[in-house]
Amino acid sequence: MRWTQRGFRVTLPLLALSAAALLSGCGLGKQSTLSPAGPVASAQLGMFWESLAIMTGIFIVVAAVFLYSIIRFRARPGDNELPKQVHGNTTLEIVWTIIPIILLVFLAIPTVHYSFAFQAPATAMKVDVVGHQYWWEFDYPGSKVTTANIVHIPVNTKINFVLTSADVIHSFWVPELGGKTDLIPGRVNHLLLEASKTGTFYGQCAQLCGPGHAYMKFEVVVQTPAAYQAWVSAMQHPTVSVTTSEQKAGMALFKQDCSTCHTVGGTSFNGKVGPNLTELMTRPTIAAGTLTNTPANLAKWLHNPPGVKPGALMPNLNLSQTQIQSLVAFLETLK
């Protein structure tokens, strides 16, 4: 934690100490820009360190001159003589105009370089992302795979996330993989990301999109190419085996109440309004990262969606306990 000690020691030494202690104690969390897991995020963190070092240097110089001045040149009691009046000094003024310009050049070079370097190459693998109030739709063009609020990608592969929105502006942000780009209705944006290690990375909408803004999260699952291919083929050939009477009742109810909005691979349900629920039980969370994916939470969600996620567009269907039980039983077969 070298940077915390460098950055804050002049004004807030206490805070810096506690910051270092707290960061090492509590860790960086799972959405930190300070723990990059790919080349884009690493480059951005590199720019952060470089600019922080220069800026800290500037701040230390200013703060040192400032503190020296106000201590050394404080008025002493009884000294009423006027200090020497200095109107200006051209040399000095030129110096402190030139030096910042030189420092800015060091910042401008990586800025321009990476602005161009972060453009997605045509060869990159594409994943279409559509933002919705308040969930994420991921489509894999060419492979007929659609999923929601979770996106699987292969490790060490350049991914071109092709971003647009179905309603308002959202912003796609997975801090550990790289910076954000907005999903803007009527416009297609591209975001190049690459993960250099396997694991799950956490993302969240970063642009105010309504009351459910805080509840619009997603996960990026980075897999080895083999595991990724296995996932794709599982998604392409989903099997739904409904056996118990409760599951059958749930499926019938789903057809009646849910299928106009939701698609379920392996069934005839193909609604396009809400999230695609194919292989739902393979997802660790539901409701865009709001709840962990357990039968109890599925029931909680079905009981009153807007109560779980403010502003959720899925209405409260006023389902009975029995209906909820059977729907959950059906949903549990989606794996």
Partner: protein, 619 residues
């Protein structure tokens, strides 16, 4: 409220006279208007502050339910709108009103009635905005009100209509202030007050008004377009019908970035006034200070897409705007170094005003350097819309603008109200605000780097955000304590008799040559300005009195009038007609507005004359 003491011997008046509260409602005196701007700004600050405290309470712990997500969105929207439009701008415009005419040796502003209209449009526009609370829906799409979230399809309540119309109303007032003070400063300077002799605060006012003149029309157009979308079914921002989501952002930030400078340049001016006075030293690099103001203003119109780096505008646009944004650091740096050079070798007196002015330097530097980090477009994609940005702009707007405004309050209080604020309370006030501010906002840099997006109504545990939010919340309450001390200081001071000396700080500019508070006519005789720091010059090299530029005689004064208040009132009522979709109410009050404007166009005010007291001026 301090009454301006009666100093008039003879009043030859054909115009109506008003007394008591009516004399305030009908006033066209820039000093009274300045006082009302500042009091109204402090009034709205109480609301904006309360909103901030509720936000901080909600974010104290993960998954908390102090307020609902819907309420939370209204709270941060109104907090932002209030602090920018109803607190920062009015308080600074209030000081400009109260002080600039005195600094240039003028008796009033160019258009005294229009000045009153500006005030009332701001006050009533602000109340109009807050009255949305009574209609059950405050604005909730953020202070920059991004379309299409703010369009009818996604914001069905009346809140956004109140935003669109309320900001148009107060914006008209601001625009008129811009015109008024540009003409005042260019046309009404006392003989000898050349542009390069003007105090830096007046310089900052001049440049600020230029920014207002060119920045407010784009936001007005933006608000009109959205009003047409929402009220009349137009399609400017309706993407499905060919509208553009980015149009809103472009027009908003073409205004929005200069707006940032509209609320920081006057603070620069304030600091440039206060530091020389309390360091007992002439300002270092006067010309480069004025030049830096102008360059900043010019650049501020060429950086707006740095608010839109995440919009995917492409590497060329992002690179260009990143570089123009970085360039602003150069003139800003010049200002910082010149202030430091002014302090160097001085004899610094630590009054409350000076403490605030001094604190401005490190705080603004922190806000400035984090701003340069944000200007690095590819890196900004990590900071954009995170708490890092929230930290950055609070260091600029609170650490810069508000610290500057509080410095000005302690500094000019005697000139405006004839009383000195208590210095001991002032120091408590300062230290609590300074500490509270840093404890609140510094941790936000870290929560932002840890990936916390701004504007989330709550968060899950496990991201390492909780502790930083808790520190911020504690800081917010330290800030509250500091501001309560200010309130106590204000109340206590108002209860004292008005006995402030004319020149308590050994001031440099012309306002300190007048009694505290200044007489209604400002200068019994228009002064002859013989150099920079005009009053200081007369004190050090002359006999301590200003040279008159005209013989003594009766002074012509504009008549008070209720017409500005009337016009503002009918405009606001027409605004209610629009919000409530009532053609009758809207049409009727719009018609009444134009009838009054017609009368104002024809009005011929002969004013009245006063004969100043002998010795009505300070010695």
């Amino acid at each position: 409220m301090a009454a301006i003491p009666e100093r008039l011997v003879a009043v030859h008046s054909e115009s109506r006279t008003y007394t008591g509260i009516w004399s305030w409602l009908a006033t066209v005196d820039h000093k009274r208007i300045g006082i009302m701007y500042i009091l109204a700004g402090l009034f709205f600050m109480a609301f904006g502050g309360a909103e901030a405290l509720i936000i901080r309470l909600q974010l104290w712990a993960p998954n908390s339910h102090v307020v609902s997500a819907e309420t939370f969105n209204q709270l941060f929207t109104m907090h932002g709108v209030t602090m920018i439009f109803l607190v920062a701008m009015p308080i600074l415009i209030g000081f400009i009103n109260a002080i600039v005419p005195l600094q240039i040796g003028a008796r009033d502003v160019a258009f005294p009635r229009m000045n009153a209209l500006s005030l009332w449009l701001f006050v009533l526009g602000g109340l109009f905005l807050y009255s949305s609370f009574l209609f059950g829906s405050m604005p909730d799409a953020g202070w920059f009100n991004n379309a299409p979230l703010s369009e009818l399809a996604f914001s069905k309540g009346l809140g956004v209509d109140f935003y669109d119309i309320g900001l148009q109303i107060s914006g008209f007032g601001t625009l008129m202030t811009g015109i008024n003070f540009l003409v005042t400063i260019l046309n009404m300077r006392a003989p000898g007050m050349r542009l390069l002799r003007m105090p830096l605060f007046t310089w900052s006012a001049l440049i600020t008004m230029l920014l207002i003149l060119f920045a407010f029309p784009p936001i007005t157009v933006n608000l009109i377009l959205q009003m047409f979308d929402r009220l009349f079914g137009a399609n400017f921002f309706v993407v499905g019908n060919g509208g553009s989501a980015l149009l809103w952002q472009n027009l908003f930030w073409i205004f929005g970035h200069p707006e940032v400078y509209i609320v920081i340049l006057p603070a620069f001016g304030i600091i440039s006034e206060i530091i020389p006075v309390f360091a007992k030293k002439v300002l270092f690099g006067y010309e480069s200070m004025a030049m830096a103001l102008s360059v900043i203003a010019f650049l501020s119109f060429m950086v707006w897409t740095h608010h839109m780096f995440a919009d995917g505008l492409g590497p060329v646009v992002n690179s260009l705007f990143a570089i123009t944004s970085m360039l602003i650091a150069v003139p800003t740096g010049i200002k910082i170094f010149n202030w430091l050079a002014t302090l160097w070798g001085g004899k610094i007196h630590f009054t409350s005003a000076m403490l605030y002015a001094l604190s401005f330097i490190p705080l603004f530097v922190i806000g400035g350097v984090s701003g340069i980090m944000l200007a690095m477009a590819p890196a900004d994609l990590q900071y954009n819309d995170s708490y890092f940005v929230v930290a950055h702009f609070h260091y600029v707007l609170f650490g810069g603008t508000l610290m500057g405004a509080l410095a000005a309050l302690y500094y000019w209080f005697p000139k405006m109200w004839g009383r000195m604020l208590n210095e001991k309370l002032g120091k408590w006030n300062f230290w609590l605000v300074f500490i509270g501010f840093n404890v609140t906002f510094f941790p936000m840099h870290i929560s932002g780097l840890l990936g916390m997006p701004r504007r989330i109504s709550t968060y899950a545990p496990g991201n390492g955000w909780t502790i930083w939010n808790q520190i911020s919340t504690i800081g917010a309450f330290i800030l509250l304590a500091g501001m309560l001390i200010l309130l106590y200081n204000l109340i206590q001071t108002f209860l004292h008799p008005a006995d402030a000396p004319a020149d308590p700080w050994d001031g440099r500019a012309l306002e300190w040559s007048l009694t505290s508070p200044a007489p209604e006519y400002n200068f019994a005789q228009t002064p002859l300005v013989r150099g920079r720091d005009a009053y200081w010059l007369e004190k050090r090299e002359g006999d301590g009195k200003l040279q008159p530029a005209e013989p003594a005689g009766p002074i012509h004064m504009p008549s008070p009038s209720l017409a500005p208040l009337g016009i503002a009132l009918t405009i606001v009522l027409a605004g209610y007609g629009a919000v409530l979709h009532s053609t009758i109410i809207g049409g009727l009050f719009l018609l009444l507005t134009f009838v009054q404007i017609g009368r104002a166009l024809l009005a011929e005010d002969h004013g009245f004359h006063v004969t100043p007291h002998v010795g009505g001026e300070a010695q």
